[in-house]
Symmetry: C2
Subunit: 116 residues, 2 copies
DNA sequence: CTGGATCCGTCGGGATACTG
DNA sequence: CAGTATCCCGACGGATCCAG
């Protein structure tokens, strides 16, 4: 990876959003602080292990904050760091283009089918 | 994946840029039309098979165009479609945030180290 | 409740050889 | 030159069980 010195800085950003569930997690946390169990409830198809691992990655990247309460039963809250909020515009940009992309591909498919 | 109806449109966009070499390919094609061999030369660590597969994916997504010349030896040119150019701002947004992210993580690391 | 540990399947990507 | 065909491997994610 030395051929793309000039532009390889795209990739670190991708680490933050690439991961099967990271985007779901981020969107949920954009709404505010969530507990582990809340995230698990709102993302039904994710397992604890994977949720935990994705959260840990985001935490290491300083995108989210993990707060452990010394109570029983345990309580852990996750929230965006101040820095974490800065990914929002990135996600929105991708989101908008993604919508346009879907539409574009839909149109293309429609056109192709009308030619049959 | 029915829990994130509202925001799952982030993912299709990601398909375009996720892939170990897609970003490198896109950046090269932003410069203009390239032949297969040129791409391979400019991305030294990629193999033909992988280059071909990544190109095919981008082509299916209507991001790039593949033009085959009926000459011998064979000649194939790849270029961005008009639509493909629209990913540029997306990449730039990610790129900019990526740079800031690197800097941020660097600072964080520095701070942590000065505390030792 | 919030995880960690373990095992396992899948899939993207890589090495190599072959072809039109 | 521009690929395809095969085989291979490691990383990621999933299922299940265990623990503080």
């Amino acid at each position: 990876m030395d051929n793309d010195m000039q532009y390889c800085t795209v990739e670190p950003a991708l680490d933050v959003i690439v991961g099967k569930w990271k985007i779901s997690i981020l969107f949920l946390l954009f709404q505010g602080t969530k507990r582990f169990s809340e995230l698990q409830r709102d993302i039904p198809d994710i397992t604890k292990k994977v949720l935990a691992s994705q959260l840990r990655e985001l935490e290491e990247q300083d995108i989210i904050r993990r707060v452990v309460y010394a109570v029983v039963p345990p309580k852990v809250e996750y929230s965006l760091t101040e820095y974490g909020h800065s990914v929002k515009p990135v996600l929105q940009t991708i989101h908008q283009w993604g919508r346009a992309h879907l539409e574009h591909m839909g149109l293309k498919k429609g056109i192709e089918e009308t030619t049959t």
